[in-house]
Symmetry: C2
Subunit: 253 residues, 2 copies
C-alpha cells in the first residue's frame, strides 16, 4: 500500500490530479492508499472523499483516510474499537469494609466501586489506583484483576465497545475525601452488606460476592494475578494476567 502526505499539488481544486494518481496506483497493482491530511488542509479530505476515500481515523491535528483498491471487501486493519474502564474494589481486610461510591450523574441510588476511563498508555492497575484516589482520596495498591466485562455499541463510548475491568486493591490510607463533582456519596461499607443490598448494579453485586468468597476463603480463590514479560522485539516489559501458575510448571524445560 502507498503511504503519502497529500497534496503533491497544493491546489484545492485538484481532485483530477488525485483521480489520476489513484488510477496509476491501481494500474501498478497497489491494493490500498493511505492519505494523511493535516487538519488545516482538510479541504483535501473532501476532495479525496469525492474519489472514494473515507476516514480511517483522526486525532487532534490530523486525519487519516483510506481507499481500498484490491479485490473483494477491504482487508485493511480497523482502528481502535474499545475504550477501557477500570474500577477498584478496595477492601480493608482489618474491618471487612469495602470502598463504595454513588455517582452524582449516572446510576442513581446504586453503590458502585470507584473507577473511570483509562488514560492513553496507562496500565490497568494504574488506572484503578488513580481513579480511586481522584474520586475518594484513598491511596491503594494493585493486587489482582477480579473481573472483565465487554459491552458493544456503548452510548458512553461514541458507539464503540467498552471493556470494564474490576481490580482488587489494598488500601494504604483510610480517611475518605471524595470528589463532590463526581460522587454524591462515598463510604466504607461492610462487604456482607454490599453483597446483599438491592441498591447496587448486578456487576457490583456479583463482584462483591466474589470478593466476600475470597475474603473468607483466601484471595487465591478469586485472583487473576499479574506477571511481567519482555516483548518479543522491543525488550519492553508488558504485563500478563492469568490464574496463578505453580513454580513447577513455570520452570518446565
Amino acid at each position: 500500500s502507498e503511504q503519502r502526505q497529500w497534496p503533491c499539488s497544493p491546489s484545492p481544486s485538484s481532485p483530477c490530479s488525485l483521480a489520476g494518481a489513484v488510477a496509476r496506483w491501481q494500474g501498478e497493482g497497489r491494493v490500498a492508499v493511505w492519505l494523511h491530511v493535516p487538519i488545516l488542509q482538510s479541504r483535501f479530505a473532501a476532495a479525496a472523499a469525492s474519489q472514494g476515500f473515507a476516514f480511517h481515523h483522526a486525532e487532534q491535528g490530523s486525519s487519516t483516510l483510506t481507499l481500498w483498491l484490491g479485490e473483494g471487501p477491504s482487508r485493511l486493519p480497523g482502528y481502535a474499537t474499545h475504550q477501557l474502564g477500570v474500577a477498584g474494589a478496595v477492601l480493608d481486610e482489618s474491618t471487612g469494609k469495602v470502598l463504595v461510591v454513588q455517582d452524582r450523574n449516572r446510576t442513581i441510588n446504586a453503590w458502585k466501586f470507584p473507577g473511570g476511563l483509562s488514560n492513553p498508555g496507562e496500565d490497568i492497575g494504574d488506572t484503578a489506583v488513580r481513579e480511586v484516589f481522584e474520586e475518594t482520596g484513598i491511596k491503594s495498591e494493585f493486587k489482582s484483576i477480579l473481573s472483565i466485562r465487554q459491552q458493544h455499541k456503548h452510548p458512553g463510548a461514541f458507539g464503540k465497545s467498552d471493556m470494564y475491568i474490576i481490580c482488587r486493591l489494598q488500601p494504604s490510607s483510610f480517611s475518605i475525601s471524595f470528589c463532590q463533582q463526581e460522587c454524591l456519596r462515598c463510604e466504607w461499607m461492610d462487604l456482607n452488606e454490599l453483597a446483599r443490598t438491592k441498591h447496587t448494579t448486578p456487576i457490583t453485586s456479583n463482584v462483591a460476592k466474589l470478593l466476600l468468597y475470597g475474603y473468607r476463603e483466601g484471595f487465591d480463590k478469586i485472583d487473576i494475578t499479574m506477571r511481567e514479560f519482555p516483548a518479543v522485539y522491543t525488550g519492553v516489559f508488558y504485563k500478563l494476567y492469568h490464574r496463578e501458575l505453580p513454580e513447577s510448571y513455570r520452570n518446565i524445560t
Copy 2:
C-alpha cells in the same frame, strides 16, 4: 456542552461567524463545543481548526471535532484507546495436542496460537472461534479466558494500545485446512512440546505451561469463566468473566 451540525452558514469563508458563535457560547458559560462535519464538507474542519477546534475522532463519512471552553485542561472523554486481539488455544483432550501456527509475515519460526483482531461488536469468544476457523479450518467452541495482556503505543494499532486475550477452545473438527495467505505452517503439536520449545513467543510458552497445568490437574485450576448478566438500563445481556464463584456465594441474600 453544545452539539451541532455545522455549518449554520454554508459559506466556506466564514471562520468569523464561527468565531462569533464560539464567543457567544463561552459567554453563555458552555464548557465545550462538539462539531460533526460530513467528510465532503471537510473544509469546515479546517476553518474550525483555525478557531482552536481539534479532531476528537473520525470514521468513514464524518469527523467530530471538539473545543474545550472550560477552565483548566479538557475534561472531555477521549475516544476508543484499545484494539482487541483474541487467540484460541485449541486443545484436543483425547491426544493432548494443541493447534499452533507460524505466521507468514510476522514472528518468524515462532509457533503461536491462531488469532486476530476482533471485529466491531464481536464478543471475545466469537473472535477466537472465527479467527481459528479462518486461519486453520478447525471448528471449535469457547470454554474460558486463559490470559489477558495489555501493550501500549502498539505499532500495529496506529500508536494506540493493544489488548490481547487468549481463550481456551474445545475443537469439534480436527482436519486442518490452513490459510496460505496468513500462515506458513499449521499443525497439532504435543502440548508438552509447545510448553518446552524455544521456537515460540514468551506469552505462548507461558500459556502453554498454564494449559498443561490445567490439562493434567483440571481446567478449574486455569479457567476464567463466563456468565451473562442483564445490562442496567437496556436489558441487553452482557458477558462477565471471572473466577468460578460457588453457588452458595452466588445465592447470598
